[in-house]
Symmetry: C2
């Protein structure tokens, strides 16, 4: 949801990429374009964009536009988008998940971050400059050079957040150039009937068994918050797709992996307007929404395209409209007079959705038990098949997807499975494709980052495994990543603590020896909603951690050209038991709900503290208690035995011995010398 | 420097208070005002403000002002201010360091944070409302109620930061009321000749032996940065008092404890303008500044009051002016056209000043050795005198001040000494006064937070001691505060890490058992400059930690009505030695330069890990090596013996034993059982 800034390396989330770019196959020299030769060399992966660009430039001239800016998101600032919204992808051929394009009459440039530079050089033709500084200030400077004073710089105001609009505005301020929103999207005009059609699948109600509360209860809760707010908002604008889906307990399939549908909602203190393709609403869904009409709990249905006009009309009254600035577009924001706005980073819907109630928590726990069954089956299968040379990254990903699909309430994967062997895993966001897929081998580390959509919850788990003998560095790095996962998972912290001030606990064991990882440490997750659910997590724009929130915890370590490690669990924020209490509310900690053991072959027990080992053993006991019975119920005896083997408690002695060993190196060895004295006497 | 926001409890720095308010003496009932009785009850500490308020209201009418806002800072956003700038204090009688006042024709209100509520009730008379929500939104709502539409709300634009101006402007936006800057300060008009005169002391050059580099070198470095900046600024505006003092290696005594003087500087790529009371410049200082006149290294001298006009004149050209928005006032900012501004939170001078060069580092280290001598003498003296009942908080503070004064290069304390016994130490910012001072006793914990100004460096150290037998809670809390201090001090972290993401390491040992503290964890410090030197530290608006920065590390624990603990050291950010390296630059860690041992009587060794004990022993070795010889050089043999006693290495055995003990409690006891088997066999 957030474009890369200069802090990109810290904040980027994982699994945001559509296609894998393995470091094998075609040689580096022929796999990327070379525009310096005549004629230019283009790899087969490049797209010829000459005609598209010419058509766009024609439209730009017709609108007196000197530069046109195209982003990679949709009108809801979605992280994953539908093919129909992939305007940047169609125009450029570049399929990375993050980028910005600017086209003038004689230039065309793409800005993207370092994850995608090689991919861009493989997909762009020579019509395009690749720019490696993807922040708006830098794009602004490029525009100032490319566009004459008095020129018009245009964009589709529904595809830019308020912040992005302000930044472009600031970058061009005082330059004589005009930033001009045009509501007709110029790329869509050119794309024409080749553009994929709008989604047409049914929008359906979640069965009551899978909802945490009725939509009427949710509406009442939000209205209560409006009433109690000091600025007395009269309405909340819902422009994030998850917001409307969550509020009404509705789901759709407009976007891959995310069960949401195109919509806006305007929830006022006396009415509810849902903007959506009405024909797609299932009969039961429509019935549920309109059972109380007319009245304050009647949902009035409007066409999706009417949202802006209706909002503008409503904003003429004596009203105050509450919205989340992080994901509301300038196109909607700009129709509301400044003095009628109540701006927060996130709307109260986003915050209510983030804190799961008891039933939602139970559902997410239950989904993770079935999800663990699938992952355990997969790890067992790999153990048997990899030595036979029968598995590659792609077939592995297909197999885990199938195992999940077989679990109750499954609705497919929650994102494109990451299945990466050896050096491919060093690309944190790599996914294999049918065309290019590395064979798994007992001599390489393997990283699997996958998740499922179930009616009761969304899952996301990463395990890294190695069937052969790891090198000392691999074992040390894996162990330190695990120590980081444990240290953050077992942390006790005060209520109202922001994730960003505790995420370093997941890094410290790596930092101790000069290692680190370049991505975020976690993200919220939904009940059959998004796998990346804002605003929960450990990044600077996340809200304070609160009991009832779920977040992933996923430290890693990546060694270019060699291997990659990530250990990811989903955890619930719960109240902690502490000896003392400060303040009125109890302190918090995490309960890990992902229930799959780690690879014993990669753990160097001598690095772990007694507290870490105790924690690990307690976690393994929980796995046995929760997943064991489910494996038996599903008659998966072999997997059950594998689980028992894999969750044997670790001896605490190793840690104690380590202390003694450390003691020895320091030259102060009371316990070690006591032992040695005793042994000597025995021998005597 | 930063007004309290809703996160006040986290960000407030220590020792910001002018007067102590011990919880003894007058009873709670008679020590605060009671405006509900007739006539109102006022304690002797209250000031009669009726005449002052009437005079101010008269001036307001003359200017058609309906509400006048008065802050607690000066025209440089200084943290400590001169008596002459204490407009809020004079008008209200309230002497706390943070507050805002609004006066209308029939109302007068003071906003301050929770640290000062009791103090305000003791100092205000019944002309004043005390408001407990000191954020601008709340002040704005009060103003909207108190001032009719069409009314004028005024303030002195030189006393408000850009951010504060914008916030007031936003709060009144669209309300019909006008926010009107008036350059004549209305309080000063009323204060008249009772207002303390401007500072008149000499402004002098630091001897070359005490400067890190010449002012010409510093100017060249800043001009280099201007040249390399992508936006090509033509000038930097220095409006923080430390900025000008640092740049020119000049010092003055305009503000207590801070060796700075009232000034602004406009440094352009071809000229240097210093705005200051010229007559106060020492001859040598003037000579140093004007040796290269005319030319780009000639400092042109202007009167202090000409700064705004000259800036406005300069801003008419084809220029770009670089400034720090965190501490530049709206009065200066508003004369620069928007498109000629280059805004950063902190100017390049602030950032250059924060990173000490090798010589500055050596000087700060040396100052801390002499400072340790004074503190060690004080701790030894307390050990002997307190059992005799001879010391109270105030006389203690006087004694440590005198000990520092006796050290070479001393220029007095760097802030008002905090000397707090028993329950008084639970007020984190308490300082004793001559009128009210608690006697120190072997039965109470004692907290001493003091610092010195030396020509080569500024120091700040807190030690908490107890001469009797501590309660288990006192000992546990002290030990956990110490563990936090150690854990942050020994942390290894990547370059470019922000303090806010690592400060939790100073809290974790407390968090583990449900304890915490409600203030920040550290702040930058200068070379004979401010004791709180922005922008270094662990708060959200601090810049990333860089080798060469000095910061305090100061976790604490406070128990209302009982006791307070704080352990504060100053540490230098240095490069770390790590087994591996990630990225091009080495990782960083801290070198603690405060060199005074902790109170062994309060340490529960069984809570410390072997790593913590090893760290502590190594630190004590450093103390012995650096301070021991200095004590002998100063012929302080008794103090030398005390130091040797107090820095005896701690046995590592206790920690190892703890592991074994912990092992036992968990029911998995390989090492313990091995021992027991061996012992049994021996007995057999």
């Amino acid at each position: 949801m957030h474009p890369p800034q200069w802090i990109a390396a810290w904040v980027l989330l994982l699994h945001g990429c559509a296609t894998g770019w393995p470091l094998q196959g075609a040689s580096a020299r022929t796999s990327v374009r070379d525009c310096s030769v005549d004629p230019p060399y283009l790899p087969p992966t490049a797209t010829n964009t000459t005609a598209r660009l010419a058509a766009l430039r024609g439209t730009m001239r017709a609108h007196s536009v000197h530069a046109y800016i195209v982003p990679s998101t949709d009108a809801h600032m979605s992280e994953y988008i539908a093919e129909r919204d992939s305007r940047l992808g169609w125009l450029t051929g570049f399929t990375g998940s993050a980028g910005t394009v600017v086209v003038t009459q004689d230039k065309a440039a793409l800005w993207t971050d370092s994850r995608y530079w090689t991919q861009a050089e493989r997909q762009l033709d020579c019509n395009w400059e690749l720019q490696r500084t993807p922040w708006i200030e830098s794009i602004g400077l490029w525009i100032l050079e490319a566009v004459p004073a008095e020129g018009n710089i245009s964009l589709d105001p529904f595809l830019f957040s308020i912040d992005a609009w302000n930044s472009y505005s600031q970058a061009l301020h005082g330059s004589g150039r005009t930033l001009l929103p045009i509501e007709t999207n110029l790329v869509d005009q050119v794309w024409g009937d080749q553009r994929p059609p709008p989604a047409s699948g049914e929008i359906y109600s979640l069965p009551a068994a899978f909802t945490g509360s009725s939509w009427q209860e949710k509406v009442a809760g939000i209205r209560q918050q409006m009433k109690q707010h000091i600025q007395r908002p009269t309405a909340v604008l819902l422009s994030g797709l998850e917001e409307t889906a969550w509020l009404f307990n509705l789901r759709g399939d407009d976007i891959p992996y995310n069960p949401v549908f195109y919509s806006y909602t305007l929830l006022t203190n006396s009415s509810i307007s849902l903007f959506v393709d009405k024909r797609r609403l299932a009969a039961a869904a429509r019935q549920s929404l309109q059972a109380s009409c007319p009245g304050p709990l009647c949902v009035e249905l409007w066409e999706y395209g009417q949202a802006r006009a209706q909002l503008q009309y409503y904003a003429q009254g004596n009203v105050t409209i509450w919205l989340g600035t992080e994901y509301t577009t300038y196109g909607l924001y700009s129709v509301i007079p400044q003095e009628k706005l109540l701006e927060d980073s996130y709307s109260p819907i986003m915050l209510a959705k983030a804190v799961k109630n008891a039933k939602e928590q139970e559902m997410l726990r239950a989904a993770h038990v079935r999800d663990a069954v699938a992952v355990i089956q997969y790890l067992l299968w790999l153990e048997k098949m990899v030595p036979q040379g029968q598995v590659d990254e792609f077939s592995g990903a297909q197999y885990i997807d199938a195992l999940r699909q077989a679990q109750e309430h499954s609705h497919g994967p929650s994102f494109q499975s990451i299945s990466a062997s050896g050096l491919n895993a060093a690309l944190a966001h790599y996914s294999p494709s049918n065309q290019s897929s590395r064979k798994l081998s007992v001599g390489e580390m393997y990283l699997s980052d996958t998740g499922g959509q179930y009616l009761d919850g969304t899952t996301d788990i990463t395990r890294t495994v190695y069937w052969g003998v790891p090198t000392p560095l691999q074992k040390e790095a894996y162990t330190r990543v695990l120590m980081g996962n444990i240290d953050l998972s077992r942390l006790i912290f005060p209520p109202n603590t922001a994730g960003r001030v505790v995420e370093s606990f997941a890094r410290r064991a790596l930092w101790d020896v000069g290692l680190n990882y370049g991505h975020g440490t976690g993200h919220g997750i939904g009940n059959f909603l998004s796998v990346h659910e804002w605003p929960v997590g450990f990044q600077s724009n996340n809200v304070p951690l609160t009991a009832g929130m779920f977040t992933s915890i996923e430290p890693g370590y990546y060694r270019d050209g060699e291997f990659g490690i990530r250990i990811e669990d989903v955890a619930l924020v719960v109240e902690a038991q502490t000896e003392h209490q400060t303040g009125e509310k109890p302190f918090l900690t995490f309960e890990v709900v992902s229930l799959v053991p780690y690879d014993r072959n990669l753990i160097d027990l001598s690095l772990l503290s007694p507290e870490q080992i105790r924690y690990l053993n307690a976690y393994y006991e929980t796995i046995r208690a929760r997943v064991g019975p489910e494996l038996l119920r599903q008659q998966l005896e072999e997997a059950y035995r594998w689980l028992q083997r894999s969750t044997e408690p670790f001896p605490l002695g190793s840690a104690a011995t380590t202390v003694a060993a450390a003691t020895t190196t320091l030259g102060m060895l009371p316990l070690a010398s006591l032992l040695s004295v005793l042994l000597t006497r025995l021998q005597a």
